[in-house]
């Protein structure tokens, strides 16, 4: 065991963990909106809109995240037209490509989580709102969404942890996140076990924090 290496690599890995957290939080926020949007589309009665939303979640859940990142980062740059638009400013940056891929991916999972949460809301709750003369819009924003968010907390907590692990793929498109820096240190020192222990502990610590945050929220917003 090379303890010196573990100590010297710790600050480097810690500062890389900040990038991991940045990637995670931005893509989770974007994914949340995408997920909500597509969950609402899934409940639409129009079969085309419904199928479109289903297709989105099916494709993004059925293919590896790595493929999605590569299509966005390497693939989209190939379209000449895109290069001439303002979108190219975003798409030439690996950082934004990774975030777009993560957001689309987590959006697909979030839409499934929210959809099933919406379905578990008892019709009586909505009927009660209607009979009180509350408008459909307010029923949706003030009754359905809060209940759905509370219902989906446990599943969403898992999704956050899965997404945190997913951000490690950003290292494949040259971003130096926690895994990227860990790989760099491993390949320069050839001490995989030491680096794995340090980087793994940082990841585990983040998992632990997320897990407890969700547990706290669940307790705070429980129905009892």
């Amino acid at each position: 065991m090379d303890f010196d290496l573990m100590i010297t690599s710790f600050p480097k890995l810690l500062s890389a963990a900040v990038i991991t957290l940045k990637l995670l939080s931005v893509s989770l926020i974007a994914g949340m909106f995408l997920g909500l949007f597509f969950a609402v589309l899934r409940m639409n009665k129009n079969i085309f809109i419904n199928k479109f939303a289903y297709g989105y979640s099916y494709i993004f859940r059925g293919t590896p995240l790595l493929v999605q990142i590569f299509i966005i980062y390497f693939g989209l740059g190939q379209i000449e037209y895109l290069r001439s638009t303002f979108l190219w400013v975003i798409l030439k940056e690996p950082y934004w490509c990774a975030i777009i891929a993560f957001a689309l991916n987590t959006g697909a999972y979030t839409s499934e989580i929210l959809r099933s949460a919406f379905q578990t809301i008892k019709p009586g709750v909505i009927e009660a709102g209607k009979s009180l003369g509350i408008s459909n819009k307010i029923i949706f924003y003030k009754i359905q969404i809060p209940i759905a968010i509370r219902q989906s907390l446990p599943a969403y907590g898992n999704e956050i942890i899965l997404m945190m692990k997913g951000t490690s793929l950003a290292s494949t498109v040259t971003l130096m996140d926690l895994t990227g820096v860990a790989k760099y240190i491993i390949s320069t020192t050839f001490k995989p076990i030491e680096v794995f222990i340090v980087a793994g502990s940082i990841y585990l610590f983040m998992t632990f924090l997320i897990h407890n945050l969700i547990k706290y929220l669940e307790k705070k917003y429980s129905f009892q």
Partner: protein, 230 residues
């Protein structure tokens, strides 16, 4: 379409073999995972605290650390570890382990952690009376597990195991970083030499979708078979 032609002019046959490789790695990893799950599930369910600790350590660490990091550990650390063991026995030559073995072992350990959780959940949801009845009838521990618990557990575990299979299948794409030629690696090579990444990565996505779709069909059939009588 020319790009997908079989033979020397296109990438069709290469991608076909790469798909077979993805299937082979996934199946091997899943089986390796079952072996790990069979070792660690009893540890997690054991009444001894120290054994529980080992089981929980395995599932927590593997499920909390990114797959890619585990793969790097095996990729960079695998041959070093083997060479270290070999050096104890007086063998000092360089040993390189096959990318297939490293890959399926790494993915297998990851999938094993998920399978362990699935098995644990399934065993815990079996009615306690089943264990007691077996004991009262004097069924041996071995027969109790293989003839009574396992068949009931399988029915409960299959839906969740199908999720584990999907995760495993998608995780194999990460082994491409070690150079094993599966779908992702082959698409990378093809994209590099034809300068058409959009087409090849999209085609890779289609191949993965096909694999997930077909395996879902197969698993649904299996599920129907094991839940006969319910």
């Amino acid at each position: 379409m020319e790009l997908l032609a079989f033979g020397k002019t296109g990438w069709g046959d290469e991608l076909f073999y790469a798909t077979l490789m993805t299937i082979a790695v996934s199946v091997t990893a899943m089986l390796v995972g079952f072996v790990f799950a069979l070792i660690f599930t009893p540890l997690k369910l054991s009444k001894y605290k120290s054994l529980n600790l080992i089981g929980n350590f395995y599932t927590t660490v593997i499920r909390g650390v990114p797959e890619l990091l585990v793969i790097y550990l095996f990729f960079f650390g695998g041959s070093g570890a083997i060479m270290y063991v070999a050096s104890i026995f007086g063998y000092f030559e360089y040993i390189e382990i096959n990318a297939f073995i490293t890959g399926s072992l790494a993915i297998g350990i990851i999938s094993g952690a998920y399978s362990t959780e699935v098995f644990r959940g399934a065993i815990q949801s079996i009615d306690k009376g089943q264990f007691e009845a077996a004991k009262v009838l004097g069924v041996s521990k071995f027969a109790q597990f293989y003839k009574i618990i396992l068949p009931q557990m399988l029915r409960l575990a299959i839906p969740n195991l199908s999720n584990v299979w999907q995760i495993t299948l998608k995780d194999t794409s990460l082994i491409s970083v070690t150079g094993l030629v599966e779908i992702m690696r082959q698409s990378y090579i093809a994209a590099g030499s034809t300068r058409d990444p959009l087409f090849f990565y999209s085609f890779a996505a289609v191949l993965y979708l096909m694999l997930t779709y077909l395996s879902m069909k197969l698993i649904n059939r299996l599920e129907a078979k094991y839940s006969r009588g319910y």
